[in-house]
């Protein structure tokens, strides 16, 4: 009994370090896309003049920022997948192994 409790402790510690790793990456990444997108809607609502600034030809800053948001979302998705594969997955399988031992 004591041994299985000790194993449970190990599993929980492993989960905590996984959650900590996730927070370290996901909090900044979430802030980036929220600021990028919600910021765009705020500018659209309150600073229409800024959106009218021409960037190339008839393409204004508003459409340029919309295009930027597309690229940003795609980039973040790829970055997330890479981080998840390289950092989260090994931590998760360690936690899973510890979890399985504690259940056994």
């Amino acid at each position: 009994m004591a041994r299985s409790e000790a194993r449970l402790e190990v599993a929980q510690a492993a989960v905590r370090s996984l959650v900590a790793a996730k927070l370290r990456f996901l909090v900044p990444m979430t802030i980036i896309f929220m600021v990028g997108y919600i910021g765009l809607t705020v500018i659209a609502g309150f600073a229409k003049g800024l959106m009218a600034v021409k960037v190339i030809g008839s393409l204004n800053l508003g459409f340029a920022l919309i295009a930027f948001n597309y690229v940003l979302s795609w980039l973040l998705a790829l970055v997330y997948e890479r981080i998840a594969n390289k950092i989260f997955d090994p931590l998760a399988s360690r936690a899973a192994a510890a979890g399985r031992r504690s259940a056994a």
Partner: protein, 507 residues
């Protein structure tokens, strides 16, 4: 119109063939609700793209851009950004902690009947609020595109979706989505290349032409969404609401593990995102080539913009190429509507059969074969109800329901889901508080707003998410604190956390 009907008949035959094939492979509850969790990430990615590009996206975003400029592009961008939330916070935890439904996640976290009932309520309200305008839109569009009467269009769409869902379950629904997504992306690619070929493959010409024709104001925000707070509210609704839409979320149970769930989100972000970006160009191209007056004359909401653009690109009205292109795009639009209402029907019948009847009412004591039978019967009932509601909704302003669906998803389902996954002290009181406050504030604010009451609105915003979402979170937190600490539940949180992040189920 006969070209549309013949192309659509071919799509329908393919879908029925898929349903027949899928029906023979659907025996267990896991087959029916989740295609036995055996889809690949790419298959699920295409199916998600099918789910998420409804006719509202396919036809609506293009029309909004053609008639109102930049606001249409905002509508198109939001659904892509929303997948960042899903990817970072929701997809993998959902895959790890549930089996078939949102109710499963809440039930395994809280283990109380009351919290399960709250999750069922959130699912059913959002799905019906989403299903009804889709059905109403289906009637109008099928009538516009094929010439069948509204009531017959409802019956036809309803019966097709009942057949897909009741016989083929998740496997048929998924493949119908995949076929539709491939056709839709194919149609989009053809239209895009043809439109670009007219401007020497320089998309900037679309902007220059639009500015020359309609003035610089056309390319600015605020032509459709007049109130600045509505812009922000729309954005918030998308970014948080998608993660609370049950018919999209159940898709993550169709893949084997969290890694595949993750990969399928990346797939959908590129597939649907590229399509959404293209709708902005389609809208501008249509405004340039077809012209706003012609678009308004065909349908004042602009829903026929894309078919009209396709007709123009094919060679114009009356030419064979033009009619073929129009027919193809219109047939894909009808297939789109059908696929989306099928997914909604499946998700609703899953929650009624699995969450409500089996787990809430019977305490889980129903054997698998009987549960599948009940789920199929529920799909038939939901389908018939959808037909009836669709017929009743004719001529009624259903726009408020579209807003309501996404707003309730963001204000009630999303806070409850996120706090269940990540907050130790969250408890049954919090689930009930969050669901009630989020739901009630969304419904009340939408009902007294301009979408429902026009100029007599008691409240200025069309989309209330900016207020109702924080209220939903507040209700969830206050509910948790008022209910007092549930030590049993907090102790179980460690095991739940292990499951959420690794997929290992507690004993």
């Amino acid at each position: 119109m006969s070209i549309t009907l013949s192309i659509f008949a071919v799509i329908l035959l393919i879908s029925l063939g898929i349903t027949y094939w899928a029906a023979r492979r659907t025996a267990t509850t896991s087959d029916f609700y989740a295609a036995d969790g055996r889809l690949t990430a790419a298959q699920n990615g295409f199916a998600l793209a099918g789910d998420w590009c409804s006719a509202a996206a396919f036809l609506g975003f293009t029309g909004l851009t053609a008639l109102y400029g930049m606001d249409g592009a905002f509508y198109a961008l939001g659904p892509l950004v929303a997948f960042c939330t899903v990817l970072f916070l929701v997809a993998e935890p959902l895959r790890n902690s549930g089996r078939y439904t949102l109710g499963d996640v809440i039930r395994s976290r809280m283990q109380t009947r009351a919290s399960l009932l709250a999750a069922i309520t959130g699912t059913v309200v959002v799905n019906f609020a989403y299903l009804m305008p889709q059905m109403a839109g289906a009637g109008v569009l099928v009538r516009l595109l094929t010439g069948i009467s509204y009531d017959w269009a409802e019956i036809f769409v309803g019966i097709s979706m009942i057949v897909y869902v009741a016989f083929g379950g998740m496997l048929a629904t998924t493949w119908v989505q995949i076929v539709k997504a491939v056709l839709m992306l194919g149609a989009g690619a053809i239209v895009l290349v043809m439109a670009l070929s007219l401007v020497h493959f320089n998309p900037l010409s679309f902007f220059a032409e639009a500015e020359a024709k309609y003035g610089a104001g056309y390319l600015l925000p605020g032509n459709y969404l007049k109130n600045p707070f509505d812009q922000i509210s729309l954005g918030l609704g998308y970014v948080l609401g998608l993660a609370g839409l049950p018919h999209v979320m159940t898709r993550f149970y169709t893949v084997p593990d969290a890694k595949a769930a993750r990969r399928s989100v990346v797939w959908v972000m590129f597939l649907a995102g590229a399509f959404f970006a293209a709708t902005t160009l389609f809208g501008l191209a249509a405004a340039d080539f077809v012209g706003q007056d012609t678009i308004r004359a065909a349908d004042k909401g602009g829903n026929l913009t894309l078919p009209l653009l396709a007709q123009y690109l094919g060679g114009g009205k009356g030419s064979l190429g033009g009619e073929l292109m129009l027919g193809f795009v219109a047939a894909v639009a009808v297939a789109t509507i059908l696929a989306v209402v099928s997914a909604l029907t499946l998700s609703t019948s899953s929650t009624i059969a699995h969450d409500f009847y089996v787990n809430w009412f019977k305490g889980g004591r129903v054997d698998g074969r009987r549960e599948v039978w009940i789920a199929r019967a529920t799909a038939v009932v939901i389908g018939l109800l959808a037909i009836a509601l669709g017929i009743l909704a004719q001529g009624v302003n259903v726009a408020v329901l579209v807003i309501l669906a996404i707003c309730v998803a963001a204000s009630a389902n999303f806070p409850v889901l996120i706090l269940s996954l990540f907050w130790r002290r969250f408890n049954t009181g919090g689930v009930i508080g969050g669901m009630t406050v989020g739901l009630v504030s969304s419904v009340v604010l939408a009902m007294i707003g301009p979408a429902m009451r026009g100029s007599e609105a008691l409240w200025p915003l069309v989309n209330p998410t900016i207020v109702s979402m924080p209220l939903g979170f507040l209700g969830a937190v206050v509910g948790s604190l008022l209910a007092g600490r549930d030590m049993e539940n907090e102790k179980r949180f460690d095991a739940f956390l292990l499951q959420v992040h690794t997929g290992i189920a507690p004993e």
